[in-house]
Each structure stands twice: as C-alpha cells, then as structure tokens.
Amino acid sequence: MNAPLLRLEHISKAFSGVPALEDVSFEVLPGEVHALVGENGAGKSTLMNIIGGVLSADAGQTRWEGRPVAVESPRQAQELGISFVHQELALVPQLSAGENIFLGRHPCRRAGLEWVRWEEIHQRARALLEELGHPMDPRRLVAELSMGERQLVEIGRALSLRARLVIMDEPTAPLSERETVRLLEVIGQLKRRGVSVIYITHRLKEIYQGPDRVTVLRDGRRVATAPVAEMPPEALVRHMVGRPAREQFPALESSAQPGEALRVEGFSARGQVYDIGFRVHRGEIVGLAGLAGAGRTELLEALFGAAGRDAGRVFIEGRPVNIRTPVDAIRHGLALVPDDRKAKGLILGAPVRWNMVLASERQLCIRADREREKTRRMVDELRVRTPDPEQAVAQLSGGNQQKVVLAKWLLADASIFLLDEPTRGIDVGAKAEIYEIIRRLAARGAAIVLASSELEEILHLADRVLVMHRGRIAGELARAEASEESIMRLATGGSSR
C-alpha cells in the first residue's frame, strides 16, 4: 500500500460562522486519479482552495508525503508540487502556447539581462506536449486555440512546474465529446508518469472512464470514499443527495389553472441554450433544475429580453410576442428576479422606496405620497424588516433585500415571474417567508418559473420540474416522479429511468 502523497486530516472551515467544511479527511495516493463529486455548495471548491493555498483551514492538518505542512499561499503550493487547472483558465491569450507554459520563468541567456531563449522555450514546450500525447505547435497563439487545446497548455504548464498533484475543476465543462476523450487520455498519461490528479466533476459518466477512486462530499462532510469499481451510479447519486425522501414536503395543492400563461418553442439564445420548449399555466409553479453551467440563468435572462435571442418563439396567453428589451417584457407582464440581487436586482445606494417603485412608477413627476403608500403596503404585506423605507437598501439583510426585489414586481402588476435562485444567501427564516410569498402569488393566478440549485426548494414548491443539462432540457418530471435522485440523474446527463 503506497503512502499517500497528500493527506488532509479533520479539516474544518467556516465563513462568517457558516460552516463550509466539517471534519473532512481526504487523501490522494501517488499516481492516482481521484474523482471528487458533490452537489453545488457541498464544499468541493473550498476544499480545493485549502489544498491550493488560497484559503487556510480553521482546523485540521495537511500532510505532504507524510510530513505536516502548512500551505499558506498558492506559491507555496506550487513549490510543493501542487498545480491547479481552473475552470477559468489562467492563460494569456495574446501570447503563444510555449510562452504561456513558461510564463514568468522564461529560460534566459544571461541572468542579469534576461535575454529570452525562444528556441529553447519552444523546444521544451513541444517536448512536453508530445509527452502528453498530443503534439501541437507551441508557437501558436493561445487566442487561436480551442478550449481543449488551451487546457493542454495549462496541463503542460503544470508539468513544467514539476507538479506531483494536478487539480482539475470541472475540466470537461467547456469541451466537446472528442476533446473530452482526448483529455481523459492525457490524464492517463499523467498517471503513467506518476502524477496524481484530483478530478472534480458533475458528469457521472466520466467518473467511470478513468478515475481510480471517488470521494463524495455532501453539506461540507465527506460521506463516502471508494474505488470506482465498488461504487455503482445509483449508490453514487444516493450518497450525493443523501436524505431519504422527506415527509417534510407537505403535499401542496397545485393552484394551476387550465389557462396557459407562457409558452416557449424552439428557443435558443446566446449560444448557450438550445431549442428550449415548455409551457407554464396560470397559477402554476414550474421548477427549473440543473447544475451550474446548465444554462438556467441565460435562459431566463434571454426570455426577459435582457440578452440576445437567437431563435424561437414566445407566446403569452396564447398570443405571440416579440420581446427584445426588458421594457417589452415588463409591458407583457413578465418579471425577473435575477440570481445576483446585488449586481442585477437592486440599486444598492438608493432608498428602499426607490427600489420598490422603479418598475411601476413611470410617469414624469414623482408622486412621493403615492410611492410612500405603496411602499408601506408592500413592507406590511411582505413583512420587510426595515427601520425606514428611505434608508438605503444596502443596509437590509439578504432576505429583506430579496423581498424588496419581489415587491418591485408585485407593484408592477407582473403576472409571469421568472425567479432565479430566489433564496440564495438567505437565512432559514426569511426563506420560509419567501416560499410563502411565492405560493401566494401562484394562488392569485401568477405563472412562476423557479430556477434553483436547491433541490429541496424545487421539490417543495414546484408542480412540475424541468431539468436542464448543457443548455437543453434534459427532461420533465411531474410532481409524483420528482425526487432528488431523479432530478440529479437528469441534471448530470443520465436518463430519466
């Protein structure tokens, strides 16, 4: 049994009192490809950032080759031999592949004057890339390379740094099928050279195409580690999702009415969502599930007119509409509660009152009295906790801020609500209040599309669930069939059976 290359013991980390990792122990053997899986928010990124020296753990010990180490900066991690291949590749597009591989460490002729030895760079780069099994001209500019080729460059860079451990975060997310195959081959090459790889992914299929072992994180804890051969997919999904079906989801009466409020056909946008088709009835709540990068936010923003629509038709109450800007969307009764309320939903420096009336008071003169009355009504109805509606909305807590965003659309008499992560970053109490508001809206006849990463939330509220995967609708689940497992299976590219 080999001694582990990297060993994390009882690592814990919390952000502002909210635990992200609790007592996680994790190890990687030399020459091993170790997959790491978990839902959004399970703690994978935090764990990797601790390994990479970007964050430091609150408790626990890290050992490298058996020796205790304290990795306090990315540079230290690099010196130990830990290398990262991020989702956002850290390459300089205007430079060549070879230059990027040796970025910052160009071999020089004379130490003092730093004459760069270009031939040497390109020779060594070419050799590295060949070793990886995919020769490429190192003089090509990174800007001209495909995503797969760019990843190769990043991996080449890691090799040139004499990495012993390479961490890859969702490496196949931007790749085509062919490039994915090539990447897996490259990983095989790394393994043959004795380099270990930590492979983070959402695509369960890939776990069975290369890695030796798999570890599952859930809610900040490690719940399982096993050789891939001993972990069939159903077991994997069960570990990821964990909870038995809860009785806590009260069987809500669906308030769906027969009238069709919104219908979308063949909708494509921004090169990131393709051929989307679905319908929402009045009073119905349709959940939109999927993992990060599946395209939910892009879809909702495109429907709202905030981003380019490539193709497709949209019908409201059966009539075709052409929505090119948010102004059009609002006129047709649409509302969008964006995923990032601070960046997209609120004018932080402005008073609560302004934010609430922004979409509804559109005549020339400000009628302060009428606005104050409307604001007061909303504050009561939605129970927004604010000492003074003239106070800047930046001072409210997350939950109350989100209520202000909802109030804005209620005041605008919206009838179709597109909600994107409506309870992100909100404490439990406020969450419950917002769920109540959403249910009341539906009961009053509004059509609601609820995009969320929290499966609990979707199962609690939705009458139907659409699951997105890589920009398309992977499947639709009726309330009876919807469960965390079935949703997760569709979201990770499996089938609905």
């Binding site: 948010p326 004018i347 559109r362 804005k408």
Partner: protein, 329 residues
Amino acid sequence: MKTADRGFWARGVSEALRRFGPLAALLLMGLALSLLSEHFLTFDNLLNVFRQSAVNTLLALGQLLVIITAGIDLSVGSILGLCCVLAALLVKAGAPPGLAIAAALAAGAGLGTINGLLFTKLRLPHPFIPTLGMMNVARGLALVITGGFPVSELGGGFRYWGAGAVAGIPAPVIVVVCFCVLFHVFLTRTTLGRDIYAIGGNRQAALLSGIPVDRRLALVYGLSGFMSAAGAVVLAGRMNSGFPLAGVGAELDSIAAVIIGGASFFGGSGTVLGTLVGALIMGVLRNGLNLLNVSAYWQTVVIGVVIVAAVWVDVLRQRATEKSRAARR
C-alpha cells in the same frame, strides 16, 4: 476620542467639513480670503465672483448629469465654442437675438444628442470616445466657419443674457439660479432624474428593472450639449463677441466643479447644490488670488490641489460613515 482634547473650534471645523463637505470648504475659503483682502467680501466683488463662475456653472450642470450616469463629456468646451460662434454669426447677419439664441441652444442639444447616440448605438466602450471625437470636430468646425476671426459687436439685445442686469443682479446670475432650480427639480422630483441615478448606481439592475437606459443616456448627453450652448450664449454676451477659441479647457473646469462638489466619478451620486458649490469654489479661488495679485499660473496649481483634496475628503468621509455604520450593527 482624541478630538476631545483638541478644543472646541477644531472639533467644530472638522464636524462641519464632515457634514457639509464642499459647502463648509467654500465658507472656510471665503472666511480666509476676507481676512486676507479687504475687497473680497464686498457686494460688488461677490457679484463679480458669481458672474465669473456663471459659464462654468452652466456647463457643470450638464456635466453633473453625465457624471451621475458614470460617464464623461469631454466635448462641452468645444460645443460651447461652436455655439458661441453660431449665435454671434446669426446676430451679425441680422437675426433677432431670440432666434440666434434658440438656434444655438438647438445646435448644442443636437450635438450632445449625437454624442449620446454614438455611445449607445455604436456600443462604444466608454463615453470618453465619442465625446473626445466631438471635442475635436466641434472645435474644428468653429474655426472653419469663422476662419479664426472673432465675431464681435453683438448689440445690446443679444448681450443681455451675458452682460445685462435686473435690479442690480447680473443676468447671468439669474440664468444660473433658474437652471439650478430646474435641474434640481429634474433630478429630485421626476422619474427621469431618478432613472439617471439608477443608471449610474447599477446600470444592469436599472436595465433589468425596465428603465430604457439607451434613451435616458441620449437625453443626458443632449442636455449636456444644451447647457454648453446656454453657457455659450452667456459668454458671448459677456465678451461681446463669439470667438472660435472660446471654451478651450472649459470641459476640465466643468468636471472639476462637479467632482469638487462631491459627485462620485463612478456614478450614482451628485447634487445640484454640490456642483454649484464646486463651481463657486473655483470661482472664489481665482477671484481671491486675482485680488491678492497672485499670478494665473499659481491659480492653476491651487485648483489642482483643491481637486485632489476635495476627493480625498470625500473618500475619508465615506470611510468614516461606513465605519460608524459597521460599529452600530
């Protein structure tokens, strides 16, 4: 707290500066100048200050709107020059003063709107670019139309807005006060004004809340051009001539007035009163240093120092407010 042992006056001054910002600085400067020169605090001199600051204030009001949206208008000085010349030429050609003024205002608004449309329709990365282009185009046109010559002797009717007076109050002062009131009402009591703050505060959120951002931006730049033309009319009246090099450097003065007045360069904040105070601070500085026979070169140095100091004070003020807010939580 250390301020306790600094004495009553020191605390008063720092508290005043913190609360009232630029206005306190203006009063402080006025106080200092009145001690240094017996002429400063006379009625005539104060009228001089207002008169000399009038054109800059008018330009600064337009610039304020632009800066609130996190933009910048570099063309105001050149549009002023071109409209100055246009109005003067029309008057010399026999047009009634009212027509000349209306034509100049229309031209200014038109050029400003072109700036706005270039920025929004061509999706240029920053308003710096179209307004820089317009700065050169307008100045060039002014020189081409006049051949470099000033167009002088414009007659009493036209000159009224620059050189006339009502009951002893110079007409430019009245014009400035009227526009200040109008802009204040616009910014604080209309939804258009609120939209402008929203766009500056968070453009994406404003767009997603249904504000027609492109239309508002075109309006803002159009208004900036309009105010340049208004400044041109006052200046031509005051100078009794439309000279094509009028307003060279005026754009920087207008930006300085807005920034000294407390508006944030990143958009979303700024008030008419602040801008007025900013323009007066610059006017008082120049006037005071003139009275003290300090050369024009030193005046420029002092104004540069004041700009940096004003922004620094504002940064400190914001940090102090945040700290006290955090402490309260």
